[in-house]
């Protein structure tokens, strides 16, 4: 068979298109889930937190978080009346097994602050990644592509909230995924599922029926370190000014 120059000119782009198709593979679409319809975040209701550590244990079980590393953890603040600026903060093993009891006589106030990735919109961690291994998804979750990550730990240093770590076995960056594998299937996160008091609630800011809209209208809320302009979107209700 002889192929003329003209036929060749037609065949080449056709072959290119076919090759393109082979390279693209088949997209693994999650059924009935459209990223563009969601904007995920979380609400932390500090006065409801009892410091039981259920969220920390649930997170470690759900996400195979290595011992001594935390995707979420709980801090206990002890603020003395005369010294707002210097709270005593403890988090024994991330609060995984709860906290030591406090006798009634102690002075000052106590409260618990659950922490997790703030799922920032202008996240410093994604901006410093040299290889594009960490990113904000179209539905507002900061994720790490562990196949692409080379473990340089720039992002670990960049996060102003200390929410990232290098996985001791995989040697790549690891962090809270907001249980992306659950929320895309209509489930709540493991920490919210295990929280007994509703101190943590998954919210979808793009869902007009989410109770978060009524809550935000009627309650004062804060984000952590707003002066860093990270676009953090984990909302804290009832947070004391001493929290950092």
């Amino acid at each position: 068979m002889k192929i003329s120059r003209r036929q060749m000119l037609i065949l080449l782009p056709a072959a290119a298109i076919a090759w393109e198709h082979v390279m693209a593979g088949t997209p693994e679409a999650a059924p009935n889930y459209a990223m563009s319809e969601h904007w995920w975040s979380m609400l932390i209701d500090i006065p409801k937190c009892i410091g039981c550590g259920n969220c920390v244990r649930a997170c470690q079980a759900e996400n195979d978080v290595p011992d001594g590393r935390f995707r979420t953890w709980v801090e206990r603040y002890h603020v003395h009346d005369e010294d707002m600026m210097n709270p005593e903060v403890i988090s024994p093993d991330g609060g995984k097994e709860g906290f030591p009891s406090v006798a009634k006589e102690d002075s000052g106030k106590y409260f618990f602050v659950p922490k997790l990735c703030n799922q920032c919109v202008d996240s410093p961690c994604t901006q410093v990644c040299p290889v594009g291994a960490t990113f904000v998804t179209p539905d507002g979750v900061v994720l790490v592509d562990q196949k692409y990550c080379m473990g340089c730990a720039y992002c670990v240093q960049a996060c102003p909230y200390g929410c990232r770590y290098i996985h001791p076995q995989k040697q790549v960056a690891d962090k809270c995924t907001l249980c992306y594998h659950r929320i895309t299937k209509g489930l709540t996160t493991a920490c919210c599922e295990a929280c007994p008091t509703g101190a943590r609630q998954l919210v979808d800011l793009k869902n007009p029926n989410d109770p978060i809209h009524e809550f935000l209208r009627t309650h004062p809320v804060q984000i952590l370190k707003p002066q860093m302009a990270t676009g953090a979107k984990v909302y804290y209700h009832g947070m004391d000014g001493s929290v950092r």
Partner: protein
């Protein structure tokens, strides 16, 4: 024309450059993952890979479908908003296939005090007891039903 006298090796150099550029394009074609740039400066397929992570917690809706008796009892009591897996731990395997194993009974000696041990650090309105003075070693479930724990005026017993 003296300036172009030795143009030959300039052309060869240009040719080499073009060739290297083509090689670069071809190599790039193969090493850059197809989905890179699909949504931004990252591998789009990573999103689906992370979404495929296996879950451990079934969610209380799953438990309630089969254990409706317990769900009913619990929904009337003070533990109405405490989800099954907050006490029973992650049980997706059991929920997917109950014959795969029966979840162990939670040890109330450690379970209940995790939430209810008295501490001034806890919110004042949360029910708390000094376990030693309150129960004196008697297991909590001898008096309280875990799924509907309140006794006295607030209880349904």
């Amino acid at each position: 024309m003296s300036a172009f006298k030795d143009a030959g090796h300039l052309l060869r150099f240009a040719g080499l450059f073009v060739l290297a550029f083509i090689v670069f394009l071809v190599v790039r074609r193969f090493v850059v993952p197809k989905s890179f740039g699909e949504y931004g400066h990252y591998r789009g397929a990573a999103i689906a890979e992370i979404a495929a992570h296996p879950a451990q917690f079934a969610g209380h809706q799953a438990c309630e479908a089969c254990h409706s008796d317990i769900a009913d009892a619990k929904s009337k009591g003070k533990h109405a908003h405490v989800n099954c897996e907050a006490c029973h731990g992650p049980q997706l395997k059991h929920a997917d296939d109950p014959s795969s194993g029966v979840p162990p009974k939670p040890d109330t000696a450690t379970l209940c005090v995790r939430c209810h041990a008295a501490s001034a650090a806890r919110p004042k309105d949360f029910p708390q007891v000094d376990a030693v003075a309150h129960a004196n070693g008697v297991p909590c479930e001898t008096c309280h039903k875990p799924h509907d724990p309140a006794l006295g005026a607030g209880g349904t017993q």
